[in-house]
């Protein structure tokens, strides 16, 4: 099968579709900021992008960003202010969605970016949380982006940096978390969504060219599928044109 898009481009388009018009989104760098740009150029022209350091933007920055604090992300911003003002929107329940990644995610959508192994004697000390726990706790919904490997999609994370549905069922609600929790996991092989009263992540669609067996073999828990399992819709021409308009250098093509 030939596709004139890369896997990463498919992931970007899938992520862009998670943004509705007029929404306030915690964007983050790299793949999600590109997805935000595509959404703005296609179906969500009035979305607002938020960055933890204290930046809100309408139009995404012109040019490549290494960090959210780089000059191009501040020039012409809607608002350059403090962390409390921007993350306070989250705490105040005024943010629709946030994108986050991680080293590990488990079947209930809990994310680890802190410690692999024992916290007092970690095998790997990861950089830490940044603002991800705040986003995971408070945003109406969370979009998780991660590479689909068995050691990344695990039965249970070693450390819950950013809470998903915790132990499943009503555990998240009982813990007092106001936000809706993770709505989707977008990987390089498939899309997973929470299903049923346990909120366990199920296979929701498989990217073109991949198989259920392959996806299951690369997942660290006994992955079930939703009843109407399908194939992830391919990017439309309009979406790809928008992506190419942003990604002029073809960074995401390979």
């Amino acid at each position: 099968m030939t596709h004139d898009y890369s896997t990463q481009e498919l992931m970007i388009i899938a992520a862009a579709r998670q943004i509705a018009d007029g929404e306030r989104i915690f964007v983050g760098m790299r793949l999600p900021i590109t997805a935000y740009g595509v959404a703005r150029l296609t179906h969500a022209p009035n979305a607002v992008g938020l960055f933890e350091s204290g930046v809100a933007r309408y139009e995404p920055a012109d040019g490549m960003l290494y960090t959210m604090c780089d000059g191009p992300n501040q020039l012409g911003a809607a608002w350059t202010t403090g962390l409390i003002q921007i993350m306070g929107l989250l705490s105040g329940g005024r943010v629709h969605a946030g994108f986050i990644g991680g080293a590990e995610v488990d079947k209930f959508g809990n994310i680890n970016t802190s410690y692999i192994g024992d916290i007092d004697d970690p095998k790997v000390k990861l950089p830490g949380s940044g603002g991800a726990p705040d986003i995971a706790a408070m945003a109406e919904r969370l979009v998780i982006i991660i590479n689909h490997q068995k050691h990344r999609l695990v039965e249970k994370v070693d450390f819950v940096t950013s809470p998903g549905f915790l132990d499943g069922g009503d555990a998240r609600k009982k813990a007092g978390l106001p936000g809706g929790g993770p709505a989707v996991i977008i990987t390089d092989r498939a899309i997973l969504k929470p299903h049923g009263p346990e909120h366990e992540f199920h296979l929701a669609s498989i990217h073109p060219g991949h198989t259920v067996d392959e996806v299951m073999a690369n997942t660290g828990w006994d992955l079930k599928s939703i009843p109407d399992l399908g194939v992830t819709p391919e990017p439309t021409k309009v979406e790809m044109d928008a992506l190419h308009h942003i990604d002029k250098d073809g960074f995401w093509r390979s």
């Binding site: 960055f51 933890e52 350091s53 204290g54 930046v55 290494y66 960090t67 959210m68 604090c69 780089d70 000059g71 501040q74 020039l75 350059t80 202010t81 403090g82 962390l83 409390i84 993350m87 306070g88 989250l90 705490s91 802190s114 916290i119 970690p122 095998k123 790997v124 000390k125 990861l126 950089p127 830490g128 949380s129 940044g130 603002g131 991800a132 726990p133 705040d134 995971a136 706790a137 408070m138 450390f159 819950v160 940096t161 950013s162 809470p163 915790l166 998240r172 813990a175 007092g176 978390l177 106001p178």
Partner: protein, 300 residues
């Protein structure tokens, strides 16, 4: 006052230090280097995110405690010294006090404005509440709902890079500021690294642009490009190559030592550092002029 003098006067071993709190811009790397040169020990480095600044200090053996939300290399990912210290106790073990960005913000806010603690919901469900034992899980007495208490955090010294200041430390900052205001007001002492020193009239022409007034400042140092390799809005671009180079060179302890000798220990001060960077630094200097629309403060 020279930065060397400010560090030797105001920073003792064992201090709780904020080296920038704007996240990835305006990081006072010149102060990072000076702390290493002066061999400060047992520091507790406090910041939401200060890019590779914290990693350098850990590698140089200056740090026994890290308080914050993220330590790494924003360009390269992991911070090798941070990993070695946390995983293998090299050069020696560090204690890690985990926060999320919003909760460390509330800890600084409480420290700045005299609140004993701040109750938040944003850290509920996270294991950070277990790893950071200063955070208390309790009940909101109004609703009975769970709420986490974040106690006030009061650094001993905060170093801040500002675009311009007058000699008295009245400082203008623009662009996103992260927790700069809260962290500095919470601190017992404030040391300003001014990229440019201007006449008092320039600062006084716009008191709403002041983030840190001079009456709270303990030392003002004129340190052009004191943020390098981090960016400073309207002054310096980010030196992305420098971050990648650091990441590559510091994969092993010997590599870090060589890097640290070359870029810190073997240089007398920030002037020598700038001279060593030479044209690479000049290429990062922002030469364009995209001025803000004026605000009028006339009274009649």
């Amino acid at each position: 006052m020279s930065l060397a003098e400010a560090v030797s006067t105001h920073v003792q071993d064992g201090c709780k230090i904020v080296l920038g709190a704007a996240l990835e811009n305006a990081v006072p790397f010149a102060a990072t280097h000076e702390l290493i040169r002066q061999g400060r020990r047992e520091l507790n480095m406090i910041a939401p995110i200060s890019d590779i600044s914290t990693d350098m200090l850990i590698g140089a053996g200056c740090v026994t405690e890290v308080t914050g939300a993220w330590v790494g290399n924003v360009s390269g990912g992991m911070g090798h010294n941070f990993r070695r210290a946390a995983e293998k106790g090299l050069p020696h073990p560090i204690k890690i006090n985990d926060y999320s960005n919003f909760t460390i913000g509330m800890a600084f806010f409480a420290g700045a404005y005299g609140l004993p603690y701040v109750p938040v919901k944003t850290i509920l469900g996270s294991d950070i509440m277990k790893s950071n034992q200063s955070i208390k899980l309790t009940e909101d007495p109004y609703t009975g709902e769970p709420v986490a208490l974040i106690p006030a955090l009061k650094p001993d010294v905060a170093f801040l890079v500002v675009q311009r200041a007058d000699k008295a430390g009245n400082s203008h900052i623009w662009g996103s500021t992260g927790l700069t205001q809260e962290a500095s007001i919470a601190a017992n002492k404030i040391i300003v690294l001014a990229d440019e020193i201007v006449e008092p009239e320039v600062i006084a022409s716009d008191p709403s642009r002041v983030l840190i007034p001079g009456f709270g400042v303990d030392a003002v140092c004129h340190v052009p490009a004191g943020c390098h390799p981090a960016p400073l809005i309207g002054k310096w671009q980010r030196d992305n190559a420098f971050f990648h180079h650091y990441h590559k060179e510091t994969r092993v302890p010997d590599g870090f030592d060589r890097w640290c000798d070359e870029w810190v220990r073997d240089l007398a001060d920030h002037d020598a550092y700038r001279a060593k960077l030479g044209g690479e630094l000049e290429d990062l200097r922002i030469l364009g002029d995209v001025p803000s629309a004026p605000a009028n403060y006339a009274t009649e």
